[in-house]
Symmetry: C2
Subunit: 233 residues, 2 copies
C-alpha cells in the first residue's frame, strides 16, 4: 500500500468508508436499489474488501443499505408505504423538538434562532434556493438541538438523513421557498412566546406539507423502477 493512507481524514478506514458511502446515498449519488459490489468499492477507494464489508455491515445496521446473505448489498429500497411512514414519523419528531424547544431553549438559542430566521428572509426575496436550503437545514438543526434531549436529537437527525434523497427537489416547486419561510415563521413565533403546543403543531404541519410536496417526486422517481428491478431478482 502507498505509505500511510491516501484519504488522510479522521478515524479508521472503516469509518471513512461508512461516511463516504452514506454520503453518496444521502446525497442521491447512489440510488435506491443500486448494487454495492464489494470488490468495486474496494477498488474505488483503494482498500481491501475487509473494511468495505465492515462499512456495508454498519450501513445495513442503520438501514441505509440492504444486505441479503450471499447475495450482496444494495442501497436500501424504500417502498412508498415506508417512505410515508418515515415522513409521518419525521413530522412527529419535529413536533416534539419544537415543543421542547419552546419550553427549553436558552435565551441565546432563542435569539440566534430568530435572528438567523430573519436573515434567511433575504434569501427568499432573492430566490436563492441553494442558500436558503443551507439556512433551512440549519434552522431545523437548531430545533433539534434546542429540544435539549440527546436521544430525540439522534433519532431526528437519523430519520432526516434517511429522508434526504426524497426531499431534494422540493424547493423547485414554485412558491415553495416563500411558503417554507412563512411556516418557519409560525414556528419561531410560537417558540419565542414559549407556546409549546402551537410550536409543535406548526412544526408538524410544516413537515407534512414538505412530505406532500416530496410525494409528488417520489411517485415518478426511479424508486419505483428500482423496486421492480429488485423484486425481479
Amino acid at each position: 500500500m502507498s505509505g500511510k493512507r491516501s484519504l488522510v481524514r479522521s478515524g479508521t478506514t472503516v469509518d471513512q468508508m461508512v461516511r463516504a458511502i452514506a454520503d453518496r446515498i444521502v446525497t442521491g449519488y447512489l440510488r435506491p436499489g443500486e448494487r454495492l459490489d464489494e470488490a468495486s468499492l474496494a477498488a474505488r477507494f483503494d482498500v481491501s474488501r475487509t473494511p468495505v464489508r465492515e462499512a456495508l455491515g454498519q450501513l445495513s445496521a442503520i438501514g441505509l443499505v440492504e444486505r441479503r446473505p450471499n447475495r450482496g448489498a444494495i442501497v436500501a429500497v424504500v417502498t412508498q408505504e415506508h417512505l410515508a411512514s418515515m415522513f409521518e414519523s419525521m413530522a412527529e419528531l419535529e413536533a416534539i423538538c419544537a415543543r421542547f424547544s419552546a419550553e427549553r431553549m436558552t435565551g441565546a438559542e432563542r435569539r440566534s434562532l430568530e435572528s438567523e430566521h430573519q436573515a434567511s428572509a433575504r434569501m427568499v426575496q432573492l430566490g436563492a434556493e441553494e442558500d436558503y436550503e443551507y439556512f433551512n437545514t440549519e434552522f431545523h438543526s437548531r430545533l433539534y438541538r434546542g429540544a435539549h434531549n440527546t436521544h430525540i436529537h439522534d433519532l431526528t437527525v437519523a430519520t432526516r438523513s434517511r429522508l434526504a434523497p426524497f426531499r431534494r427537489a422540493q424547493f423547485m416547486l414554485p412558491g415553495r421557498l416563500a411558503k417554507s419561510w412563512q411556516e418557519h415563521d409560525v414556528i419561531v413565533t410560537a417558540i419565542m412566546r414559549g407556546d409549546a403546543a402551537a410550536a409543535g403543531k406548526a412544526a408538524r404541519d410544516h413537515v407534512s406539507i414538505v412530505s406532500e410536496a416530496s410525494a409528488v417526486f417520489a411517485a415518478v422517481d426511479p424508486v419505483e423502477s428500482r423496486l421492480t428491478r429488485y423484486a425481479r431478482r
Copy 2:
C-alpha cells in the same frame, strides 16, 4: 473448522454474533463499560475475529457498544443524562404509538388488545411478576404495531431495547404491578373509544412513571461505578 457451523441458527455468522452480543447487553448479562475483547469473543463463539469485528461494528452503529479506534470496544456507557433523555424520548414515542393506535387500530387489534389486557389482570391478582412482565411486553408491542407506522415502530422498539437493562427491576417495587395494570387500563379505555389525545397522554404518563421508578435503580446501579472506571482510562 467443524463441518458446517455449530450454531445452526439463521443468517450469517455475523448476524448470529450481533444477536448474541446484543442479547447479552440488553438482558444485562454484559454490563455497561464492560470490555469486549475480540479474541475472547471469537474464542467464546468459536469463530474467527473477522465476524466478531463486523458484529462489534454493527453494534456500535446502533449505539449498543462504543468503539475507540485501536483501543477496543466496550458495552456502551449510558450517562444519567443520556438515560433521562432516552426515557423522555420513550414516553413521547409511546404517546405517538398510543395516539395512532387509538385512531388506526383495526377491530381485531382492538379486541385482542382489550382481551389480553383483561386476561393479564389475573397475573396481577396472583402477583406473578414474571408472567405479568411477559404480558406487559406484549401489551406495549401491540401499541407499537397498532400505530401502523413502520418507522415509528422501529424507532420505538430500538429505544425500548436500549432501555431494557434499566427497566429490569421496576416490578420489584411493591404495588408497581397493580399500578402498571391500572395505567394500562387507562390507555386501553382511551383507545377503545378512539380518544387519541387521551391515549397519548396516558401512555406518556405511564412511561414517565416507569422512568421515575427505574431512575431509583439507575442511580445506585453499577452504571455509575463503570462510568468512573471508564473515565479513568
